[in-house]
Subunit: 233 residues, 2 copies
């Protein structure tokens, strides 16, 4: 096992044993290097990997928050992997969209069984903000992404939320780019907003089947619309 | 943007542009450092991240394969993130199992629409190997994991296959550990084998609904059995 892998293994074991928890600081680089008998650059390699996987965040400066803090951003880690593999073309965009539709369909079906969940109130607020006149596409898409995450989170499965957030993040820039070329963005946005309202209404009404059908149609429909703009033919 | 992030961004852009493809070698460390104006340790940090995300594999020695090769192992990258976040306890095991059941249920439903798929022949072979008398738990579990991956791959969605493989890999060691403490492993294994056959038979018969119900029951049932052994109460 190479040095940086030994550091990763050590951190994983400390997390699993509960000796290292979210919010705590990782021991200093020098200390880790001494304890594990590896060089400081090797420790830094492992820390970069942990950063990429959403397990730590490195502070700046020399204050009390300057160290490397344990965080829990599984979606960030999964999104990093998905984005790079979209780039290698081994994960087709259509498959990403299908997986997202599967997870969100299941999520709204489950959310409809707890229609009073606070994340649904948040979803409602986000829809109101998307209605603001003159909203630009960037802001709209951030709110849109947040809306879908809130819906999924209301279903209570942290893995589904992380995977769905990662799928959404991985294609965020592609979507923004594609949307910029849509012939009539305001009209598209108006349709998307109506669809969002219908999905949330079905969840609130406890009609999981209808909510699932609507959210799948919403995701697949928008995908068909923007991929027509980025792929030839 | 810090130096290693610039290297990652560069590699992602090269992949997206098709100038760097799976199977090709990454430029030498020294060359990347010069081109991007960063230090060699910084390049090495980025390469470790790419390794962890399943995008490159580093060779050893000084032969023609000694460099860093672009690969496509999205499941490896996603599994690394999942495993560490299981360790941070922000991704509960039960949610992982539920996501797996969701994806595999959808996969066998889809696979039943193409019951002559070559991956289903592979699944058949794996079942035969799991039947060999005196098979140890380690070997059994590897074949079992391969069987589930083959079933999922037969459905043709690369993202579902990557996520499902990652979910399976992330809990592999936990499962092996738990199984070692089961009171009657041969009896459990016999039941799992029967369940596998029933799932595959339903897929081959084109009965997607039945296959989905069976695979979900199989995954959830085994999870209930082995979690009883690892968690108190």
């Amino acid at each position: 096992m190479s040095g940086y892998a030994a550091v990763l293994r050590h951190v994983e074991a400390e997390l699993a044993a509960g000796r290292l928890t979210v919010g705590a600081q990782l021991p200093a680089e020098r200390r880790l290097a001494e304890d594990l008998g590896v060089s400081r650059p090797t420790v830094r390699e492992a820390i970069r990997v942990l950063q990429a996987l959403g397990v730590v965040r490195s502070g700046v400066g020399s204050g009390p928050d300057a160290g490397t803090t344990v965080i829990a951003d599984p979606a960030g880690g999964i999104a990093a992997a998905l984005r790079l593999h979209l780039a290698t073309r081994r994960l087709p965009m259509a498959d990403l969209v299908a997986t997202r539709a599967l997870i969100e369909g299941a999520a709204v079906r489950a959310a409809a069984r707890a229609p009073g969940h606070p994340d649904l109130d948040l979803a409602e607020d986000l829809l109101a903000r998307m209605d603001e006149p003159g909203i630009d596409a960037d802001t709209y898409h951030q709110l849109d992404a947040d809306f879908h995450v809130a819906l999924t989170r209301a279903a209570g499965n942290a893995v589904n939320t992380a995977v769905m957030t990662a799928l959404r993040d991985a294609i965020h820039h592609t979507v923004l780019h594609a949307v910029a070329s849509l012939p009539d963005w305001p009209r598209t946005a108006a349709r998307l907003r109506r669809e969002h309202r219908a999905v949330l209404r079905a969840v609130r009404a406890g009609d999981g089947e209808r909510a699932a059908a609507l959210v799948v149609r919403h995701i697949e429909g928008f995908h068909r619309e923007w991929t027509r703009r980025v792929s030839p033919g």
